[in-house]
């Protein structure tokens, strides 16, 4: 058994890694470790310093895994170099070859994602499929798409096409006849089963049967799968399956269901009694059933969590410890009280952060001064709202950002430009040219003033450089830089001193939907159509980390206030939280029914809010990995979310031209009273959106695409006037 297990895990890992060279290849989480590390040897010091935090034994194991991977891909030179670098004996790989797969799985077990631990339980159910998966041939790296034939190979075993309907309706009948408490749980099986059966029919060229099957049962599926079904229905030929991303998602990842043990036994018994191998096979091969002990969940509980492209997140996926506390503020000579270290905070040096410059300290002092004048918001004291309307934005306003001190506003436009406005009377000025700078007395006190070229003062500066719409934009915390990400596949770093482009970060190769600076500067995150999020440092032209695991475009990216984590939202309707240090995915949040377009961490770092095209805002507890609230009220995509400076109010802005204010304090306080959910992981939400809604404010034909609280808690909203 052990040998089989080793082989099994090996094969899984191999398959995952094989998708890796292509960035759009729907990489699985399991590939994360290997991928992350394969980039790190190439990158320089800072990566090294981050990496060195990881323990040495684990280090070696992962190194071996990398070596093995490289060898498999016939990258012998790299193997040599890496081996020499790491100081491993030449035969180490050979010797440990036997258990390297084991060590590989050990390393992967570090990542919560992977089924290292539950591989055996998985295996016990998947024994029959081992033969089909194991002989995955090793292909040369560098192929653009994972070979569909391999991915789809499981579909080649076909039953009798006309019987598919019988199978399906038989199961349907059974599930409808079981006890109410099990019915809701077992009904989860319908959708993935339906999709896989349909695809199987299509793959085997039973077009008419596939169509009939689709027509007969598509109506039964949950309404939130409508978009996927639409895509599915347009797919009726085997040739179409090649290169269809949605389809690959279904194949490369197992659809995850959470079912109670009782319900599962019921299903299993039924299928075995009926000898319904067709369905049983699909369940075993393509579904991951996360069995839990205890009461079956209710329909509303299930509905709250489902909706993502690949089912719910596994419970194990959300078990890792997340240090969501805030970092201690650096001491500044202002008599600030020295706070105690938050027990939930990561170590101060967990990831290396840039030293504070003098100007940063000044800014911190300014910040504190402003903070003393801050209005304490609450249900009775709501913030005033200022609306920044972009007029005549024929070029299509696609992204907006404010500086933290609200002195600058930047807009990204569909005509590839980035425009920066000063919203204070202080005009924007460039630094003088090099020749002129030489003439300046460098000793003078006002040298910083003197280097600015008065002739260039203007309210607006336009930055040209991108060759496609600018979808993401972010100011650096020190206001010296601006990041912009564009359809052209690059992220650009602009200097706000010279108003020129400093670096173009290439790597995504596909549209980059969002980018954001770390709250501590220096690092930034970007995510795009290639389904990965990348962590960069401004002085490295290659990413430090690649966060891969989403099954569709990464649509939005946000840094945790302590810079140790990033959250990404995706069109696969999941939110993932990643550890910057290890590159692992530490949280998977499912529950949205549409692509996620906005994320916001609460200022205390404990909670996350997300908004999606399903017009809802969901609240998440990061520490426990739970959904803790649902805010309904918007009628269109929620494009912006922001917590007030002290976290009492959550503001959401939407395509429906409204800003809504929610009582975040209440939403989070209510949670603490029923923390029993933390143990089971099953949320039970009562619909209290109306109680939490503090106000809805309408703009005039202006979608709200960005929100920002000033340091004194004045709410700034921005959007392009759209008559």
């Amino acid at each position: 058994m052990a040998a089989v297990q080793g082989g099994q895990v090996d094969a899984v890992e191999e398959k995952d890694i094989k998708t890796e060279p292509s960035n759009d290849g729907g990489g699985n989480n399991n590939a994360n470790d290997g991928r992350l590390l394969s980039t790190s040897p190439g990158s320089s010091s800072s990566t090294g310093s981050i990496k060195s935090a990881a323990g040495p034994p684990e280090d070696q194991q992962t190194l071996l895994a990398v070596l093995q991977f490289l060898r498999k891909n016939k990258l012998t030179e790299s193997v040599e170099i890496l081996r020499r670098e790491a100081g491993l004996p030449e035969d180490s790989l050979e010797l440990k070859g036997g258990d390297s797969s084991g060590s590989g799985s050990g390393a992967a077990a570090g990542s919560v994602e992977l089924a290292g631990g539950d591989a055996s339980s998985l295996l016990s159910r998947v024994t029959s499929s081992a033969s089909t998966v194991a002989p995955a041939p090793t292909k040369a790296a560098g192929e653009d798409q994972p070979d569909v034939n391999v991915v789809l190979s499981a579909y080649s075993q076909q039953g009798d096409p006309p019987l598919y309907q019988v199978y399906y309706s038989g199961l349907k009948k059974f599930i409808e006849s079981v006890l109410d408490c099990h019915r809701a749980e077992l009904s989860q099986v319908f959708y993935p089963l339906f999709v896989h059966m349909y695809l199987e029919l299509v793959y085997n060229n039973h077009e008419s049967e596939a169509k009939a099957f689709f027509e007969k049962f598509s109506g039964d599926q949950e309404c939130y799968y409508e978009d996927d079904l639409r895509i599915l229905s347009s797919l009726s030929k085997r040739e179409h399956m090649r290169g269809n991303e949605t389809l690959l998602d279904f194949r490369t990842s197992k659809f995850v269901l959470r079912i109670s043990r009782d319900s599962y036994q019921l299903l299993k018994r039924h299928l075995q009694e009926r000898q319904n191998n067709q369905i049983w096979n699909i369940i075993q091969e393509h579904l991951y059933i996360d069995i839990f002990d205890g009461m079956p969940r209710s329909k509303s509980q299930i509905d709250a969590m489902s909706g993502s492209l690949a089912g719910e997140g596994k419970r194990e996926a959300n078990k890792a410890k997340v240090y969501y506390g805030l970092l201690k503020e650096p001491e500044i000579d202002m008599g600030s009280k020295s706070k105690k270290q938050d027990p939930n905070a990561p170590a101060q040096t967990r990831i290396p952060l840039p030293e504070l410059k003098d100007s940063d300290k000044l800014d911190k002092i300014m910040y504190m001064k402003e903070a003393t004048k801050r209005i304490r918001l609450g249900p009775e004291i709501l913030p005033s709202i200022c609306f920044y309307t972009f007029l005549n934005a024929y070029q299509g306003l696609t992204a907006v950002d404010f500086t933290d001190d609200s002195s600058l506003i930047a807009g990204g436009f569909a005509d590839s430009t980035v425009r920066v406005w000063s919203v204070t009377p202080k005009k924007l000025r460039k630094v003088k040219s090099a020749a002129d700078l030489n003439l300046i007395d460098k000793e003078s006190d006002d040298v910083l003033e003197r280097i600015m070229d008065e002739k260039t003062a203007s309210e607006l500066k336009i930055l040209y450089g991108h060759s496609g719409p600018v979808y993401g934009i972010s100011f650096s915390p020190d206001r010296n830089y601006l990041l912009s990400s564009s359809e052209d596949g690059t992220v650009r770093l602009w200097s706000l001193q010279t108003f020129t482009c400093l670096v173009g970060y290439k790597g995504h190769n596909y549209p980059v939907w969002d980018t954001q600076f770390s709250p501590h500067g220096y690092y930034f995150i970007s995510g795009g159509h290639d389904r990965v999020a990348r962590l960069w440092a401004t002085d490295h032209y290659q990413p430090l980390r690649i966060f891969s695991g989403h099954l569709a475009d990464v649509t939005c990216t946000r840094f945790h206030p302590n810079s140790n984590y990033v959250a990404t939202g995706s069109s696969d309707r999941t939110i993932r939280v990643w550890d910057v240090l290890t590159g692992n995915c530490v949280r998977i949040f499912t529950g949205h029914k549409g692509p996620i377009h906005s994320l916001a961490f609460s200022p205390n770092g404990k909670f996350l809010a997300s908004g999606a095209t399903d017009s809802r805002v969901l609240l998440w507890d990061i520490g426990h990995g739970l959904m803790i609230g649902e805010l309904k009220g918007h009628t269109d995509t929620v494009y912006s979310l922001r917590f007030s400076r002290d976290g009492e109010i959550l503001a959401s802005g939407s395509m429906d031209n409204t800003v809504r204010l929610w009582n975040a304090t209440k939403a989070f306080d209510d949670l603490e009273t029923d923390d029993f959910t933390a143990a089971t992981g099953h949320v039970h939400l009562h619909d209290n959106s109306q109680e939490l809604l503090l106000g809805a404010y309408t703009s005039k034909s202006t979608p709200v695409i960005h929100l920002h609280f000033t340091r004194r808690n004045l709410l700034l909203a921005a959007g392009g006037y759209n008559p």
Binding site: N244, F387, L391, A414, R419, G695, T698
Partner: protein
């Protein structure tokens, strides 16, 4: 198979594919055409699906051709050119058969290139900020200013604006007259209104310069008189600018040589004019004006010139305003004024002179109050008795009863209640909630006690005088009647003539009586 498929999507039919193939000289079999058609459909759907994400990320609701082209480009397909126009393309049918096509006119490039009217570039993208919600409450300006700003100023308008402001605020009096005249009649300057209003609100910054203030007031007058302008909520802003000129202790009034009195008189007239003509645009405007006037009047710290402004302001707003605000307040105010007037010291000379101004203003105001009150009482009873009185009284009666001109009494009292608290806070002398009209004789006697024979109006207290019985009865109630007996026969005789002059106020003398309600303004020319 394609035939019986449910029409879930737009489809390219087999025939269309065949037709297209034929047109490029390829003969296709049915099978091939069917397969091709299906594949084309699928590819189109796929491209449409992926194009929608470009729309979502551009935060739009409308899928554009550009989005579709991006999707095509990213799937390594050539983009479709020529359909990027913003406006909808008309879809027409051909007469000859069941054929539909997109109208695609030929464009003569030569003509376009040589065309003289080169289209102007679109307006600059800009960011405007407005406070949408204060403390999460109330829609102060529901982004209301946006549309007028969006309609950005054309070059010509901008020039016009610059010329006009330059002319009005400039040196040349002739130019100014022309500019003001144009401002009065130009029908195309609606877009500039906010800008003008803004300029006018600059009164606060030129309070040292009587000349400039005067010019700005004339600008207000021109704008108000322009029949093509809808002032809307800008009335409020204009009123506050005018009120500033009336009430504030302007920097210019420090120098006694500066004739700020005339400015205040003029501003007061302007105020009444704005109110009579545009008061209906802003609810509660009348009341607000009264309140602020009263506040100034009841504030002893304010200089006398401010009090003067308040008095002439009330006077300009009509006798009812005087009755309501000035009269009840008079006893309290009188003591202050008397103190000033009785101080004969040299150092007080200037203040005393100012005091006399105020005294005069009050006198004029109360005289008219008495006349009008008498008239209003006699009007219904006397009907059409005396010749001269009828004509004027009739005109006056018209003015009083016409709803557009006279403030409707109902909302007024409502409003009074509404902001009563505010009023108390201002230390008002007269509690409006309890305000009841003082009967004429009582009023007269009280006023007489202040002004003595300075009052030009004389009323008899005898029975021969006011015919309305109510007055009589009330009169008999009043105990003290100091002026009565002395001038009794005289006043009874004079009555008609006096009431005939009732409309006379210092500035209104020259104006033709027949003018519509704001008569004086039309006559008072600029400068």
């Amino acid at each position: 198979m394609a035939d019986r498929e449910e029409r879930r999507f737009a489809e390219v039919s087999r025939d269309s594919v065949k037709l297209m193939a034929e047109s490029s000289g390829v003969e296709l079999g049915d099978d091939v055409a069917t397969l091709l058609a299906e594949d084309v459909c699928y590819r189109l759907r796929e491209a449409t699906q992926s194009s929608s994400q470009f729309m979502r990320h551009a935060k739009r609701r409308k899928l554009t051709v550009e989005d579709f082209n991006r999707a095509l480009r990213w799937s390594n397909v050539e983009a479709v050119c020529g359909y990027g126009a913003q406006d909808a393309l008309p879809f027409r049918s051909a007469k000859e058969g069941e054929l539909f096509f997109i109208e695609d006119r030929d464009i003569n490039l030569v003509e376009l290139a040589l065309a003289t009217n080169i289209p102007k570039g679109c307006a600059e993208t800009l960011v405007r900020v407005n406070v949408s919600y204060l403390d999460g409450k109330g829609n102060l300006e529901p982004q209301g200013t946006v549309p007028s700003v969006v309609q950005t100023l054309s070059e010509d308008l901008l020039k016009y604006y610059q010329q006009i402001t330059r002319a009005i605020l400039g040196e040349d009096p002739h130019l100014m007259k022309v500019a003001l005249l144009d401002l009065q009649s130009n029908s195309k300057i609606a877009a500039l209104l906010p800008y003008f209003v803004y300029v006018i609100s600059g009164v606060k910054s030129v309070s040292h310069d009587l000349e400039q203030l005067n010019r700005l007031l004339h600008m207000v007058k021109s704008l108000v008189q322009n029949p093509n302008l809808y002032l809307g909520s800008y009335v409020r802003s204009l009123v506050s600018s005018v009120m500033y000129c009336i009430l504030e202790p302007l920097a210019a009034s420090i120098n006694p040589l500066n004739d700020h009195w005339t400015l205040r008189d003029y501003a007061a007239l302007l105020l009444s004019h704005i109110f009579w003509t545009h008061g209906d645009l802003v609810s509660g405007l009348y009341h607000q004006i009264l309140l602020s006037l009263q506040k100034v009047l009841s504030d002893p710290v304010r200089p006398l010139c401010s009090h003067y402004g308040a008095v002439v302001g009330l006077h300009a707003l009509g006798w009812k305003a005087v009755e309501r605000v000035l009269f009840p307040h008079l006893p309290a105010y009188w003591a202050n004024l008397q103190a000033v007037l009785d101080d004969y010291s040299v150092s007080n000379a200037q203040v005393k002179a100012d005091g006399h101004k105020v005294y005069g203003a009050i006198l004029v105001a109360v005289e008219r109050l008495l006349k009008m009150k008498a008239l209003s009482l006699s009007q219904p009873a006397e009907g059409g008795s005396g010749g001269p009185q009828v004509s004027v009284g009739g005109a006056m009666g018209y003015r009083m009863s016409s709803p557009g001109l006279s403030p409707p009494p109902e909302p007024l009292s409502d409003a009074a209640l509404g902001i009563a608290s505010h009023l108390q806070a201002g230390g008002a002398g007269c509690p409006w909630e309890e305000w009841t009209p003082v009967p004429l004789p009582a009023m007269y006697s009280e006023l007489y006690s202040f002004f003595g024979d300075s009052l030009a109006v004389r009323f008899s207290t005898g029975p021969g005088w006011g015919s309305p019985p109510c007055t009589l009865s009330q009169h008999s109630d009043t105990k003290k009647e100091p002026a009565g007996p002395a001038s009794n026969p005289d006043t009874t005789r004079k009555m008609p003539q006096l009431t005939a002059n009732l409309n006379i106020s210092p500035r209104q003398d020259g104006s033709p009586r027949t003018d519509p309600p704001p008569p004086s303004l039309a006559a008072t020319g600029p400068g």
